[in-house]
């Protein structure tokens, strides 16, 4: 077990080192996220729709699309030169491999979200002083689930011709429950609603995470092993 954890960290560290050197995915995803936020801002009529009404949806749509761009890289790097085979040949349990890829993906998506959030506060002129950590917590809770699904789907789509198109088509239905939950909680946080009004959604988010991380870990070997 300890060995599996160590191996997962080796895989994640490898991904981190490689991405920090090339930075292509991180840069594309964060720039993309910033642009989407800008578009949302310009596309709304400030007299008709207040910032606080639009903000949660804008934030989460941004997170969703930027996350998909970030997740695409996870297996693209493995496809070049057949590097994934190198990981599969080694005595690495598939669960550890999945955990390593998941950690790396979470780190990248986390970085993108961490850059998008301040921009979001800036563009929408929000005061998050009281609810900042609530929003961060919600972001983590909602992100974990769909990144787990995205890690599995990314491993599949990378072998197809139109990977960048196929991954969103497959993944977006799976992103809806966490996104809906996240938007609901975020808008209540911004409106200073009591925690009791958010509990139902938070439970769905937590259940989604537990269920999909588990299922993703279980089916991962069916994807990477022939």
């Amino acid at each position: 077990m300890r060995d599996a954890i160590r191996l997962a960290l080796v895989v994640a560290a490898k991904d981190a080192r490689a991405e920090l050197r090339s930075k292509t995915a991180l840069l594309s995803a964060t720039v993309f996220g910033a642009l989407v936020l800008v578009i949302f801002n310009f596309a709304r009529d400030p007299t008709a729709l207040s910032a606080t009404d639009l903000a949660p949806s804008a934030l989460w749509v941004t997170f969703a699309f930027a996350a998909m761009i970030a997740m695409n890289r996870a297996f693209t790097v493995e496809r070049e030169h057949g590097a994934l085979d190198g990981l599969l040949l080694a005595p690495v349990p598939r669960g550890a491999l999945f955990a390593g890829k998941l950690l790396a993906n979470l780190a990248f998506v986390g970085i993108v979200e961490a850059v998008a959030l301040p921009l979001f506060i800036l563009f929408f002129n929000l005061d998050l002083s009281r609810v900042f950590w609530g929003i961060v917590g919600t972001a983590i809770l909602a992100t974990v689930g769909f990144v787990a699904v995205g890690t599995v789907f990314g491993a599949m789509t990378v072998r197809t011709r139109f990977a960048e198109l196929l991954l969103p088509v497959l993944l977006l239905p799976f992103m809806v429950p966490p996104l809906v939950g996240a938007v609901q909680v975020t808008s209540r946080l911004l409106a200073d609603r009591p925690l009791s009004e958010m509990l139902g959604w938070l439970r769905i988010l937590a259940a989604y995470d537990v269920v999909f991380v588990t299922v993703a870990a279980l089916v991962f070997s069916s994807v990477v092993d022939e």
């Binding site: 080192r17 030169h81 057949g82 590097a83 085979d85 040949l89």
Partner: protein
């Protein structure tokens, strides 16, 4: 542990099929310590599939693969420990240096001193001076050597090679042959798939021709290449 007769690789009844589509139709493979099995065959005969089964990258539809007595398959990580695999793809990450790539492999195999093992492996293929470069800057021959260093870093008892001579010039091919002979002398078992029979002939202990998913021929190497080639062409194109 190798069995008492030194068998390292023993595969029986290997089949790989999907419904009625049969790629491999029942193959047995046995290679002992210090032996080299050279496999040839036309494209599409199933050579790469066979190698991937032996490496534990794919699961056979029927039959089993055993290395040092342990059953090899994707769900058995430890059984893959004694296996090294050199593909015609380098399996290296472009964003890591050659040294980092080999060190990564050492870490994945749980070696006690990954950096040291990587350095030794790179030294053995005489790549020490280029180790801090990225794979993209290396020629095909050097890339091949890096790939081999990666495969050998954990001291495998079984080495599987998929068309390793492809794209190598004369000196590089000769160097590869020398390296493989060293490994054989050290007791490693070798399975080599190639189109370049002339380069692999002297290495071979046994030669096998794969045609339409079966052994058309599987025998000890005897005589010289010139005698063998006509028989091979007849079988492979049958």
């Amino acid at each position: 542990m190798p069995s008492s007769d030194g068998t390292i690789l023993h595969a029986v009844g290997l089949q790989r099929s999907f419904g009625s589509l049969r790629v491999l139709r029942g193959l047995d493979v046995q290679v002992r310590s210090g032996e080299a099995l050279v496999i040839v065959g036309a494209n599409g005969a199933g050579k790469t599939t066979l190698l991937r089964l032996l490496a534990g990258l794919a699961r056979p539809s029927a039959g089993e693969v055993r290395v040092l007595g342990a059953r090899v398959e994707p769900s058995a990580p430890d059984a893959r420990r004694p296996i090294g695999f050199v593909s015609h793809q380098s399996m290296l990450y472009d964003d890591l240096t050659v040294a980092e790539n080999v060190t990564l492999a050492a870490r994945l195999y749980g070696l006690a001193d990954p950096v040291g093992a990587a350095r030794r492996a790179l030294g053995a293929v005489e790549l020490g001076d280029r180790a801090e470069e990225r794979p993209a800057r290396l020629s095909r021959g050097l890339l091949q050597r890096a790939s081999i260093a990666r495969a050998l870093v954990h001291d495998p008892r079984l080495l599987l090679l998929d068309e390793p001579f492809t794209g190598l010039d004369g000196p590089a091919a000769a160097r590869l042959t020398v390296l493989l002979e060293e490994r054989l002398a050290a007791g490693v078992a070798l399975v080599l798939v190639t189109h370049h029979l002339d380069e692999a002939w002297t290495l071979a202990t046994r030669v096998a021709v794969l045609a339409a998913g079966r052994w058309a021929l599987e025998e000890p190497r005897a005589g010289d290449l010139a005698e063998f080639l006509p028989r091979y062409h007849a079988l492979a194109n049958a």
